[in-house]
């Protein structure tokens, strides 16, 4: 290049729960690392606590930092579509992570997990782990499209498998809330065979409640997203945590890295990278265990 500095804007949701925390960590770490590697690149990293703030951040990046590329993990798809489209119109490179925009063809690069797949894999595991069928309770995340997609995927997968969902409540991807909700599920239902916590933070909360209640009817808790402590327990053969379903927060690293490479080298990097959700079992857990990650 002609020695000109290029600026990459990275806009992500703030670390309000474990997965997002991990994602924040990976974003920050990747930015730090790439700034070392590519002196001609400059990064702006902004975290947003709600969609409107995220739109503000993106506007600021364009107006004051003249970004050449934007890596965005939309808080929500709908509200970010227009603003990102405007960035695109300014000529910048767009990388969208995890949550697709509500309009096709804006992004140059799409790196994402697979939410319906996440639910499906979870549901399939649930069905196979309870071959006779059984009673389960479900902890849901913060009411969002992501959560809806996961739950729909899950429900589709357990359809006709004789699995009775006793109750679903929002645990908001939060340990404390899930602890409370699980305690109340335990009071309400004398017999629960398994819990789909749908997220490892919520699984931690649910496990705490189960342990405290001393109930032994619950055979296992299925979390998700691959928190290192939980992967470790699966790896160690903990019967309560027989499996996990990946939804790696490190996908943001992948996205930033590819974007950087594309910007520096003009290599053709556009396209879709869908990172499928994989079932983690004691057999393959080692491959998904990153002891240094905060998540």
């Amino acid at each position: 290049q002609d020695g000109e500095t290029k600026v990459i804007g990275v806009s992500i949701p703030a670390a309000t729960h474990g997965w997002a925390g991990g994602m924040n960590y990976f974003a920050q770490a990747t930015v730090d690392r790439l700034e070392e590697t590519y002196p001609q690149l400059d990064f702006v990293l902004a975290t947003a606590s709600d969609p409107a703030k995220q739109v503000n951040d993106i506007e600021d990046m364009v107006a004051t930092r003249n970004i050449d590329a934007l890596v965005v993990l939309p808080f929500e798809s709908e509200p970010l579509t227009g603003p990102v489209q405007n960035v695109k119109a300014s000529g910048a490179w767009i990388t969208v992570v995890d949550r697709g925009l509500s309009q096709e063809g804006i992004e140059d690069l799409y790196v994402a997990g697979d939410n319906p797949g996440f639910g499906r894999v979870s549901g399939e595991f649930m069905a196979s782990a309870l071959p006779e069928g059984g009673k389960i309770v479900v902890l849901r995340g913060i009411p969002t499209t992501i959560d809806n997609e996961r739950v729909e995927g899950f429900q589709a997968a357990i359809e006709g498998k004789n699995i009775e969902v006793l109750g679903m409540e929002h645990g908001d991807w939060n340990r404390d809330k899930s602890f409370t909700v699980m305690q109340d599920f335990l009071s309400k239902h004398p017999q629960i065979d398994a819990v789909w916590a749908s997220d490892d933070d919520m699984a931690v909360g649910a496990l705490g409640a189960i342990e405290a209640a001393g109930r032994d009817d619950i055979k296992f808790v299925l979390g998700g997203a691959g928190m290192k402590e939980m992967i470790k327990r699966t790896m160690d053969g903990d019967a309560m945590i027989p499996a996990n379903v990946t939804y790696p927060p490190s996908m943001i690293s992948t996205a930033i890295e590819i974007t950087a490479v594309g910007l520096v080298s003009q290599a053709p990097v556009s396209g879709d990278f869908i990172i499928g959700s994989v079932l983690v079992t004691p057999e393959n857990a080692e491959n998904y265990y990153y002891p240094d990650s905060p998540f």
Binding site: Q28, V55, E76, E78
Partner: protein, 330 residues
């Protein structure tokens, strides 16, 4: 009375007036030094336009607080109104087509819903005599839930065709000044005039400083108070009209914590939380300070984004320290 005596001294008066302005000026200077684009047209209009939502609401909040009230429900009220507006507009498209009339109906719905929500808060507070804090905490939960329920846990999106028709309301404008800025300016000017120069503004301050005295002076206390909440509701409706074209959607995350920001802006601007004294122009400065802090933090990357909140918190306190400087000495 000694407090009051201090308040009247010219020195102190000066600081409470100059304080917030000074804080704002310092922030602007800091911004300009950090980034040459900061004072660029784009950034300035961006900042002003995005101040508009909270700003319009905060003007209404100034009246509510001046009259000794409080409203915690504005953020979720905005989310609910946005959701309702989108639902109504989407459902009208089959019958009315995706045209301006639908948008006008949507706007009317927003205004009516805002007014109704404000009146409801106000009626509960004045008729039942329940603390405003509790009533609006309750309605905050109710509206937040309703929008989640309307959106089925997800996001309500405005029909795409309609959106491009509606977008100019946020992005368009006249003479390069976008509508949100214009509307905000109009609301502020009207608000300032009402607060300063009308009976209504006077009554708000009287009720906030001593409800009993206002009552004995034949002020229709309940009606004035009700009107502050109704006006705030209406302004939330107006803010929502500007907000929907920007993001084209509403979800349970819409308007999160706006109430806190609006109240903070009002108080940074010098209005007294316990009522009795309010100034609209101060609120505007408060809103701008709050928005600018966020903007500034995006201009540079001195600090870990994790610490943004800390810097924001520190600046808020400092901005208020500036105006209270007189008091520290006594």
């Amino acid at each position: 009375m000694s407090d009051a005596a201090v308040a009247a001294s010219p020195r102190r008066l000066r600081m409470t007036v100059i304080g917030p302005i000074l804080a704002l000026v310092l922030l602007v200077i800091a911004g300009a030094l950090m980034n040459p684009n900061f004072l660029g047209w784009d950034n300035v209009t961006n900042v002003l336009a995005r101040s508009a939502f909270i700003g319009i609401i905060a003007v209404g909040m100034t009246f509510v607080i001046t009259a000794g009230g409080l409203d915690l429900s504005v953020g979720s009220m905005a989310a609910f109104i946005a959701g309702l507006m989108i639902l109504v507009m989407n459902s009208l498209i089959p019958s009315m087509g995706a045209g301006i009339p639908v948008i006008l109906v949507g706007m009317a719905v927003a205004l009516l819903a805002g007014l109704a929500a404000g009146l409801l808060n106000g009626i509960l507070i004045t008729r039942l005599g329940i603390e405003a804090f509790i009533v609006t905490l309750g309605s905050m939960g109710i509206y937040r839930s309703l929008v989640t329920w309307l959106a089925d846990g997800g996001t309500l999106s405005l029909d795409f065709g309609l959106r491009s028709l509606y977008q100019p309301v946020y992005y368009g404008g006249i003479f390069g000044i976008t509508w949100p800025i214009i509307v905000f300016a109009v609301v502020v000017v009207i608000g300032e005039i009402v607060m300063r120069s009308t009976a209504f503004g006077r009554y708000c301050a009287a009720i906030g400083s001593n409800e009993q005295v206002a009552k004995y002076s034949s002020v229709r206390v309940d009606r004035v108070r009700l009107m502050t909440y109704a006006a705030l509701g209406l302004l939330v409706g107006i803010a929502t009209i500007m907000y929907v074209p920007r993001l084209g959607s509403a979800s349970s995350a819409t308007g999160m914590l706006w109430e806190l920001e609006a109240i903070a802006a009002v108080i940074i601007g010098g209005t007294v939380l316990k009522g009795g004294f309010g100034r609209v122009w101060g609120t505007v400065i408060g809103v701008l300070i709050l928005t600018l802090i966020g903007n500034l933090l995006n201009l540079t990357d001195f600090v870990s984004p994790y610490l943004n909140g800390a810097i924001q918190g520190a600046i808020i306190v400092l901005a208020v320290v500036l105006q209270r400087e007189g008091k520290a000495r006594t």
